[in-house]
């Protein structure tokens, strides 16, 4: 795996993500103001030197809020992907490797989950569990695994018929060993690439839920919440929606550039 030609898209993507991670970690050093302190003398300030991105209807500094918001949004991107990734891959591998009745049962269960509209199901689960980040992660883990399961299952179906799996069987290796040592490293690539794209969707979904009032609760600084709050003032104070929106776009760009670059690296076989 030496001498990989790093694609510019991968480098750019990593730089963007790295930048966001740095911002999230050092938020309290970077942000000039406390994100939640009201300053009623300075409401609806245009972007200026004192307030780079302006202030909102309570006089809170939008720049500081975006910086603190990155902590929550990055957390959503990571946890919102990791749980479905693990559950989906596990189910997909078991289903594809063992086949037969195990496969049929798991796949019908998957079909049932898939037959509900994704967004509606997430909203339903979140409203049952009560709004908040924790229920958002639970809902995603329950609903989001299907894509990973389908992806990994199709990979396993191909790989399990290759000769090196037969060779592993003739050497008497256990099923668990074959599945995790021999199949997993070869079948994981599409899931990894997809998870990058999925992270973008999760951030957008989280923002959308916050916007609907089901995700992060105000006054916590989160980009979706900020857009929701700014929506009423969009005609008079454009900066309240625009800058959080741009932050989402920049994070999404980072993830999708990474996905693109990873796809080309992981498929290298020369």
């Amino acid at each position: 795996m030496k001498n990989i030609n790093l694609k510019p898209s991968l480098i750019a993507g990593f730089l963007i993500l790295f930048l966001w991670i740095l911002i999230a970690i050092f938020a309290n050093f970077i942000a000039p103001y406390d994100p939640n302190v009201h300053d009623l003398e300075n409401t609806f300030q245009h972007p200026n030197l004192k307030h780079l991105f302006g202030t909102d209807n309570y006089g809170r500094d939008i720049f500081s809020r975006i910086i603190y918001g990155s902590r929550i949004d990055l957390q959503m991107a990571i946890f919102g992907v990791i749980f479905p990734f693990i559950i989906g891959n596990l189910i997909g591998h078991i289903s594809g490797y063992f086949g037969g009745i195990v496969d049929s049962l798991l796949m019908r269960f998957l079909d049932i989950t898939m037959s509900f509209p994704f967004f509606v199901l997430v909203i339903a689960i979140v409203s049952i569990l009560g709004p908040g980040l924790k229920s958002f992660y639970i809902a995603l883990a329950l609903v989001g695994w299907v894509s990973y399961a389908r992806l990994s299952r199709s990979q396993v179906l191909v790989i399990k018929n290759l000769d090196y799996i037969s060779a592993a069987k003739t050497l008497g290796y256990s099923n668990v060993r074959i599945m995790f040592v021999h199949i997993l490293p070869n079948s994981i690539t599409p899931s990894v690439v997809f998870s990058m794209t999925d992270a973008v969707l999760v951030v957008l979904l989280g923002s959308a839920l916050s916007y609907l009032g089901l995700g992060v609760q105000p006054p916590t600084a989160e980009w979706g919440v900020m857009i929701a709050e700014g929506q009423i003032f969009i005609t008079s104070s454009w900066w309240m929606c625009t800058f959080p929106g741009l932050a989402i776009v920049l994070l999404a760009l980072g993830f999708s550039l990474c996905a693109d670059g990873l796809a080309s690296i992981l498929n290298v076989r020369e």
Binding site: M1, L162, D163, Y164, S166, A167, A168, K169, T170, L171, G172, Y173, R177, V181, H182, P185, N186, R269, E270
Partner: protein, 537 residues
């Protein structure tokens, strides 16, 4: 005789930012009218690229191309698109290696052939129908009127390849380029196909360029031969010159490593030998699901893999299993090694019934029986290093103590002739021959008594092929292995095995000692199989 095609100083390479890597370096040959020109060489020698360049059948944006391909006084490499399009198909046409991927699966056979006629020669429907029937007849397809409406999946591999020829001949080309046309075919089908190619050459006065890695096939069909290696022409001359008086060292090596049907006296005696495998009434049946014929004809929905097989393998035997593709050779191997469970029948291995193995006995059996697979690349996990692949079974089966694993790996590698410095490489960094050596080393790591080799050399070049065969023979002598050797290549089987089983559609047609099978075959099928082996002389 006049030259119909002249290839002069052809150079083809891949352009990259910094330099151009030449894949074909300075190739020149000429094709006379009515000739069959054979191009032979190992994989990577540039033979396919040379042929494709004749009708410029590649994306020329990232390929560097220099030299001349002169056809009717014009250099085809400089020709514009329109000129090329009239030449492709009408003047020069091409058939490819894998007939099943070059036919549109959703188009009827007849329509695929008549497409060229209606598009190129502007024939109307009726005329093109008559012409297609004629063409199908000329490539020896029976009942052409009926076959006209068939889909490609209803045809066998040999028939598909004939359809490809018919389509290539549709516009009466002057030159036919055949790129490894028989590699995907069985021996018996191959010999029929080669006969057909010669017939067409005489009947239509068409010149043929025949590309193959198989010197025997080339020697059987062609009257001029070009030997290529690493993008260079090693030798070019008539068949007699090349085969009987080769001047070049590489040509000599190619000829000497070609598996000949030589007499080898195997001493074989089954008396007083311990039975290793005892196979009784073995059946393997697959159910086919056919949506359109679901309600009728239930009996044809079952496909038979193996039919009432009986076989005894004695300790120290070297059994060859031969037969065409689909005869059940690989299925038998997979059942013997217990990756596949048979529908019915019993297999006793060393006193153990394979059906009723408990965990402990299964581990015992797994160590005692090992297999080498056909495709050297796909039988190695691409994400693991050679060292890992070889150490894994040693650790898993507790064969050597932990501190000795690495020395044992080194020992295994030197035993199969692999250099020690390859151990940190991944499979894709190795050549096919090296991969197959890793496979052998892995199989031997658990010190088995029985080694099953399923076409271990068919994916390899001839020169490598003979090395691997020698290695397998050496090791099985050294370690006193029982060898079950599956191959479609009779000449290799004759060299390796002392007993032979001939299989056809899931049954054993004939069984006997090697000498008896080759010198005095009992069945028509075996005779046909032996007579269709291509030989150099």
């Amino acid at each position: 005789m006049k030259n119909i095609l002249d290839v002069k100083n052809l150079k083809i390479g891949i352009k990259s930012k910094f330099n151009t890597e030449l894949l074909v370096k300075n190739v020149s040959f000429n094709l006379e009218k009515g000739d069959i020109l054979g191009v032979v060489g190992e994989s990577g020698s540039g033979k396919t690229l040379t042929c494709k360049s004749i009708i410029k059948l590649f994306d020329n944006t990232d390929l560097y191309c220099e030299g001349e391909v002169i056809y009717q006084g014009k250099n085809l490499l400089q020709a514009n698109k329109n000129h090329l399009n009239t030449i492709r198909g009408e003047e020069i046409s091409m058939i490819f290696q894998n007939p099943s991927t070059h036919l549109d699966p959703l188009m009827r056979i007849g329509h695929q052939i008549s497409e060229t006629l209606t598009v190129r020669q502007k024939l109307n429907k009726k005329d093109s129908y008559i012409k297609v029937i004629e063409l199908l007849k000329s490539v020896n397809i029976k009942n052409p009127e009926e076959k006209y409406h068939c889909f490609p999946h209803e045809f066998s591999g040999g028939m598909k390849q004939r359809v490809m020829i018919a389509a290539a001949l549709a516009c009466n080309p002057k030159i036919l380029i055949a790129d490894e046309p028989t590699t995907a075919l069985d021996v018996t089908v191959q010999s029929l196909f080669l006969k057909l190619l010669k017939e067409i050459n005489e009947k239509f006065k068409i010149s043929i360029i025949f590309v193959s890695h198989d010197l025997g096939v080339i020697a059987n069909t062609c009257n001029k031969i070009v030997v290529m290696k690493k993008g260079n022409v090693m030798e070019f001359g008539t068949k007699n010159e090349i085969i009987n008086h080769p001047k070049n060292d590489y040509t000599k090596e190619l000829i000497s490593s070609y598996p000949q049907l030589e007499e080898i006296h195997h001493k074989y005696n089954s008396k007083n030998k311990k039975i290793v495998f005892q196979v009784k009434n073995l059946n393997m049946v697959w159910k086919k699901f056919n949506l359109f014929k679901f309600f009728k004809n239930k009996s044809s929905d079952i496909s038979v893999g193996l039919n009432d097989l009986e076989l005894n393998v004695f300790k120290g035997d070297r059994i060859g299993v031969v037969g065409e593709s689909g005869s059940g050779k690989s299925t038998l191997a997979k059942i013997l090694i217990k990756i596949l469970n048979p529908s019915s029948g019993s297999i006793i291995f060393d006193g153990l019934d394979l059906k009723k193995l408990d965990k402990k006995n299964e581990m015992k059996m797994r160590q005692a029986v090992q297999m080498i697979f056909q495709d050297p690349y796909s039988s190695l996990n691409p994400k693991k290093t050679v060292e890992y692949l070889l150490a894994e079974p040693l650790i898993f089966h507790n064969i050597v103590s932990e501190q000795n694993v690495l020395t044992k790996v080194d020992e295994l590698m030197s035993k199969v002739g692999l250099e020690i410095n390859l151990k940190n490489k991944f499979p894709h960094q190795l050549s096919g021959g090296q991969c197959q050596r890793v496979n052998i080393a892995r199989a031997l790591s658990v010190s088995p008594n029985v080694l099953i080799a399923d076409e271990p050399t068919s994916a390899l070049d001839v020169t490598i092929q003979s090395q691997i065969i020698d290695l397998i023979l050496d090791l099985s002598n050294q370690l006193n292995l029982t060898l079950i050797f599956i191959s479609h290549d009779l000449s290799i089987v004759r060299k390796v095995c002392d007993r032979i089983i001939v299989m056809k559609s899931g049954r054993i047609v004939e069984e006997g000692q090697t000498e008896q099978i080759f010198n005095d075959p009992n069945t028509e099928y075996t005779r046909e199989l032996i007579s269709s082996i291509p030989t150099i002389n």
